[in-house]
Amino acid sequence: MELKTPLYDRHVAAGGKMVPFGGYLLPVQYPTGVIAEHMAVRQNAGLFDVSHMGELLLSGPDALENLNRIFTNDFTNLKDGRVRYTPLCNHQGGVVDDMIVCRFGPDEYYLVVNAANRHKDVAFITEHLTGDVTLTDLSDSTALLALQGPKALDILKAVTDEQHIPMKYYSFKRDVEVAGVNCLLSQTGYTGELGWELYCDPAEVGKLWDALLEAGADYGLLPCGLGARDTLRLEAGMPLYGHEMTDSISPLEAGLDFAVKLKKPDFIGKAALESVHSFNRRRVGLKMTGRGIARENCAVFKDGERVGVTTSGSMMPYLGYAVAMALLDADCTEVGTALEVDVRGRRVACEIVPLPFYTREQE
């Protein structure tokens, strides 16, 4: 049985097509459709209900030591008010989950995890905690909205005091009043655009949702569903747990080297990641050059030989062509390589292109 986010009735009233995702019923799209929602985020702004995401608080004098020993990234120099991305590995070097970590203080860290992995994460992290530290699952008392797009700042300024808006990427501020709602406001997102995420009390998120939509009306803001969330992250070349990362895909194969600090002291999965086997495959970007759209789990061929499999794929509304991400043999990942993908029995031509597929223009 799927759970409903506090905004369920609003999604239904707005004509959202509700689908189960990560244990929740969420809109895959509104009547505007995935393409219009995707383009709104690239050109104006979009508002997403991502309340299904999990929020965990790791607190205690030994919090930092536990973070560095359990996760692959290094949190030693993370400052208060800053955010850091990290995979969490199992002992075999596969990915348990990926998440962002916000530092509240030297003894307090806020972890934002994938909805479908929340219970698995809590069990795994708890099992490996040592010393004076506590993990608390705050997911059920936290709602989350994502406001994304070039007009997001204008919209935010209309409902909150500008001086409280975190202006650096991967930074956050707590206790920010947005449209009268107390929020944790972070400059983060999953779309490749400038944007913010707003964490608040589920009892108040309806008020926040309504206020943001109203403030955004003049800026072309659209409520967006999971469909656009997925095409936006794919266009921006961002990996998604369960696709580009799984229990049996290492973060190095997924191209997340920047968040795996092999030079720090031991952490879970380090030995496995240091072995040669962790580099057998590599995530690449594919551009479809023939007629067809590769989806996930399509076999990829080079000169007739199978060299890997796609992990995500779709038509890209902004770029105007179809792309895919694939996990290929490590010796077959050079940009420009011509390949073929088996799309439901048809071999369709494609080419390895650099990731990300899309990068926003910075001002």
């Binding site: 097509k17 895959v28 799209q29 459709g33 995935v34 393409i35 219009a36 995707h38 469909g227 997925d230 095409t231 007629r291 067809g292 759209i293 989806r295 779709s314 038509m315 509304p317 179809a322 439901r344």
Partner: protein, 125 residues
């Protein structure tokens, strides 16, 4: 000779007798609405044999692929090439934009008139 009415399959295709020995095949308005923004249409080739109830083409929205089942057995004599470059035309008007035409139709799937199809869609929901 006037055109007959569109008949609908449970898999949401329509079949229209054009009165000249050929039949047009398309998807229902309900189908295009359920699929969402269509971005790709894969059509059969002229000369292909279609078999009633068997997949013959597919349409793709941004997120999903959907097989098109031929509502009749026959020979493909025309395809709507417009859809290859503008699949969104199906979203704009699914009834006026056929996918392909069949001749020498021998067998048909179990098909419904519009009223029965609308009832079927309602019950399926």
């Amino acid at each position: 000779m006037g055109k007959s009415e569109r008949l609908y399959a449970k898999s949401h295709e329509w079949l229209l007798d054009l009165g000249d020995g050929t039949f047009a095949v398309g998807i229902s308005d309900h189908a295009q609405s359920e699929l969402g923004d269509l971005v790709f249409v894969n059509l059969p080739e002229v000369g292909d044999q279609a078999v009633a109830g068997e997949p013959i083409a597919d349409v793709e929205s941004v997120k999903a692929v959907s097989d098109i089942y031929s509502p009749a057995t026959g020979t493909v004599v025309a395809i709507n090439e417009l859809l290859l470059d503008t699949p969104e035309a199906l979203n704009e008007n699914a009834l006026e934009n056929y996918l392909f035409k069949l001749s020498d139709v021998t067998e048909r799937s179990e098909l419904m008139d519009l009223a029965a199809y609308e009832q079927y869609v309602k019950e399926e929901a």
